[in-house]
């Protein structure tokens, strides 16, 4: 099939300024047909810069149903999908322990890789995927698409404009309730209890859910975490991975942070990120952004608490797909790069290591980042 060009409208996150771009559509093969994969596939189509070129899952029944529903070809094996010239990108949404083998294989076949988060279960696996993509000259992105939420984009802009001054502290609270069916796969269309397994999932609530917040808080502040101390436990879930965790950390500029997360808080969810600095404080929660700044930033009066509640209704996953397509078109790194995902995994695995070793640990820096810092 000859490549046609979609005239995609790229939403710049907040939807303030839409930019017309001509992007060659991604021909996406969907790998994994679970609930998240189905959502990702629909949003990829909605992005306007992708078409579904096939569906594969080891559970042929759910894969066939999904392929039929989305009018896409069904592939019985991953090899068949990767051999197809009509697939140039794979969107992998499978249990974490399969990320490495599928990611490396897809890159080896010259396919761009869009990976569901986290990039892998440990840094060695992440290195393997990143290196394979680099060696084969294909793009790699990981689904930390919350970055594309207009609220997060606005928060980042405010921080870049100096609303908070120098960052001094970060607090993250994320408490939910995951019922037993979440762990056993009882509510899944392809039942599997991989989420409860340390070997398959890599960890519990932190790597599965809170990783998004860890990503966007670092994205907003532009800082990396240097040192971590953590405590965690499995207190009331049918799992071998943590269902509650508390982290104290120090950021590269000396700011001090904390993170408390659990999947065992019944009745009332809690999702709040608080970022404070020498010139202000920002609170991100479900209602939007609450901002206090001593500076007049973005037309907001200083010395006053502002509640920013209205944001454009944007599909963050579609934005993620659109941005990746653009990065491929422009032959540049995507907004959420493999290295960003590696950094996120370094934070998470350091938190686990801290608890296991009973001490504070340094968060590793990717060699490529060391070079950036020296420059």
């Amino acid at each position: 099939m000859s490549a046609s060009f979609f005239s995609g409208v790229r939403n710049e996150g907040s939807g303030r300024k839409a930019k017309e771009i001509a992007v060659e559509p991604l021909k996406i093969g969907i790998v994994g047909a679970g609930a998240i994969a189905q959502r990702n596939a629909r949003e990829a189509v909605a992005s306007g810069v992708a078409r579904l070129a096939g569906v594969f899952d080891v559970n042929h029944k759910v894969a066939r149903n999904m392929a039929k529903a989305l009018s896409a070809p069904f592939f019985p094996t991953i090899d068949a999908m990767l051999a197809s010239p009509d697939v140039d990108t794979v969107l992998i949404s499978v249990p974490h322990h399969l990320h490495r083998s599928l990611g490396v294989q897809a890159a080896g076949c010259g396919k761009h890789v869009m990976m569901e988060k986290p990039v892998a279960n440990n840094l060695e696996e992440a290195d393997a995927i990143i290196n394979a993509c680099k060696a084969n000259g294909v793009g790699l992105t990981v689904n930390y698409s919350f970055r594309f939420l207009p609220k997060i984009q606005r928060a980042k802009r405010l921080v870049e404009q100096g609303a908070l001054g120098d960052i001094t502290g970060i607090q993250i609270l994320q408490h939910q309730y995951k019922d037993p069916g979440y762990w056993t796969g009882a509510r899944s269309n392809s039942p599997d209890d991989w989420r409860a397994s340390r070997e398959k999932c890599g960890g519990g609530f932190l790597i599965m859910t809170t990783c998004h917040i860890i990503d966007y808080v670092h994205f907003i502040t532009g800082l990396r975490t240097e040192r971590i101390y953590s405590e965690y436990g499995t207190l009331s879930s049918p799992a071998e991975v943590e269902d509650i965790i508390s982290i104290a950390c120090k950021l590269e500029n000396g700011a001090v942070g904390s993170l408390c997360a659990s999947s065992i808080m019944r009745g009332v969810d809690q999702n709040e990120e608080r970022i404070s600095g020498t010139n202000g404080t920002m609170v991100l929660d479900e209602s939007g952004i609450t901002l206090f700044s001593t500076r007049p930033v973005d037309g907001l009066k200083p010395g006053k608490v502002h509640r920013i509640k209205k944001f454009p209704d944007v599909s963050w996953t579609a934005e993620w797909v659109r941005e990746f397509a653009t990065s491929i078109h422009e032959s540049r790194e995507p907004a959420v790069s493999g290295l960003d995902a590696w950094d996120n995994l370094a934070f998470i695995t350091s938190a686990y290591r801290s608890m296991e070793e009973g001490r504070a640990v340094q968060v590793p820096i990717h060699p490529a980042r060391s070079g950036e810092r020296e420059r």
Binding site: N279, T294, R295, P296, K301, P302, G303, K304
Partner: protein, 376 residues
């Protein structure tokens, strides 16, 4: 039609009473509406037009912003002045902004007290001032002021509004220099090289000092201190804290305003010398050995704060506020002193938040900061 005065007063006090009964947390939201209504009523009953302006306000500690405001046209005994330049008084304004000891104020607070501008309108009973005249005096950092003309000074033809806007600071320094009684050839040390300190360098020189030694913690303000008509020598105490013992000045002008600087000033003075406390002292000094530092060495300590100046003639030989102001402007006119070389930041008023953030953090290497409200 004009309402009888008692009716006006009753209505205004009724509105005031209603406002004060509203819970505090809701007052800011309706403050503008309430005061706007009052102003409009006043405008109606006094037949005076409402003017819109902008002024710098400290909204809270370390938060400055350019805020809109409304005021009435001048009453019969008032004039309307449109600002051209206002000079920041770094010590006082920083003290209020940062809540330093002795500078407690409630917020919002309108800073500024040294501003030059042009008369736009005069009241019916005002004489001796005409629209178009340039005046300088105690006006805030604001685009326009409505006030009686009595306390203001006429800016001489040859003097720019930027230079004239230094007048209040000039008066502060002149009264201190006068109290210092500098004699020809005296060795004068000026401790602190902010704007007051650097103006002191120049006036000490003008008063006949043989050598003026600028003393500061760092060298960040050296370039302007050693400029035209300024200090002959610059000492940075961070490089050598013991330098104070070698300065041996006949007269020491303390222009910092901290207890530590008062002690250092005493150390800088020669036995029998004088220390002039010019800086607005912020802080309480305890445990100072006054006997060893001052009494045993026969040092005269002279308080020289502007608040101790007479407004008008009181006794022979005492210079008044008006006389010092007129002298300052005359010295500028005759080019015997320059101040434009001390301006390190010509700021647009819209950048006032940034200006005062820098000031709250110590002022960096800035000396004179002037807000330009309109072209000269």
């Amino acid at each position: 039609m004009r309402l009888p005065r008692p009716v006006q007063d009753k209505f205004i006090s009724l509105l005031g009473a209603i406002y004060t009964r509203i819970p505090r947390q809701y007052r800011p939201a309706i403050k503008w509406a309430v005061f706007g209504t009052l102003l409009r009523l006043q405008s109606l009953v006094t037949l005076r037009r409402i003017r819109k302006g902008r002024r710098v306000e400290f909204l809270d500690f370390e938060i400055a912003n350019l805020e809109p405001f409304e005021t009435l046209d001048p009453a019969s005994n008032q004039i309307l002045v449109e600002s051209i330049c206002s000079t920041v008084s770094p010590g006082t304004e920083r003290a209020v902004l940062s809540g330093l000891p002795g500078a407690r104020r409630s917020f919002p607070y309108q800073p500024g007290y040294s501003c030059a501008g042009r008369v736009r309108k005069i009241g019916k009973k005002v004489s001796g001032v005409s629209p178009g005249d340039r005046l300088v005096g105690r006006m805030k950092h604001t685009s326009l002021s409505v006030l009686p003309p009595g306390g203001l000074f006429r800016v001489p033809e040859a003097v720019s509004c930027e230079e004239a806007s230094f007048m209040e600071l000039g008066i502060i320094v002149l009264q201190g220099i006068r109290k210092a009684g500098i004699r020809p050839g005296d060795r004068v040390a000026v401790l602190g090289q902010g704007l007051i300190g650097q103006l002191s360098n120049k006036f000490a020189k003008l008063a006949g000092a043989g050598r003026v030694i600028a003393v500061a913690q760092s060298r960040r303000r050296e370039a302007t201190a050693i400029g035209r008509g300024g200090a002959d020598e610059y000492v940075a105490l961070a490089e050598d804290p013991t330098a104070v013992d070698r300065i041996r000045a006949d007269v020491v002008i303390e222009a910092v305003g901290t207890p530590q600087a008062v002690v250092q000033s005493l150390q800088c003075a020669i036995p029998g010398g004088k220390v002039i406390l010019l800086g607005s002292s912020r802080g309480i000094g305890r445990g100072v050995d006054f006997k060893g530092l001052a009494q045993d060495r026969g040092i005269d300590i002279i308080g020289a704060h502007i608040s101790a100046m007479p407004d008008r003639e009181s006794s022979p030989g005492r210079w008044t506020y008006r006389e010092e102001g007129e002298l300052f402007l005359r010295l500028l006119e005759e080019k015997r002193i320059t101040v434009s070389d001390l301006v390190t930041w010509h700021a647009d008023p819209s950048k006032c938040n940034q200006v005062f953030e820098v000031l709250a953090a110590g002022g960096a290497n800035h000396v004179g900061i002037v807000f330009q409200w309109s072209p000269e």
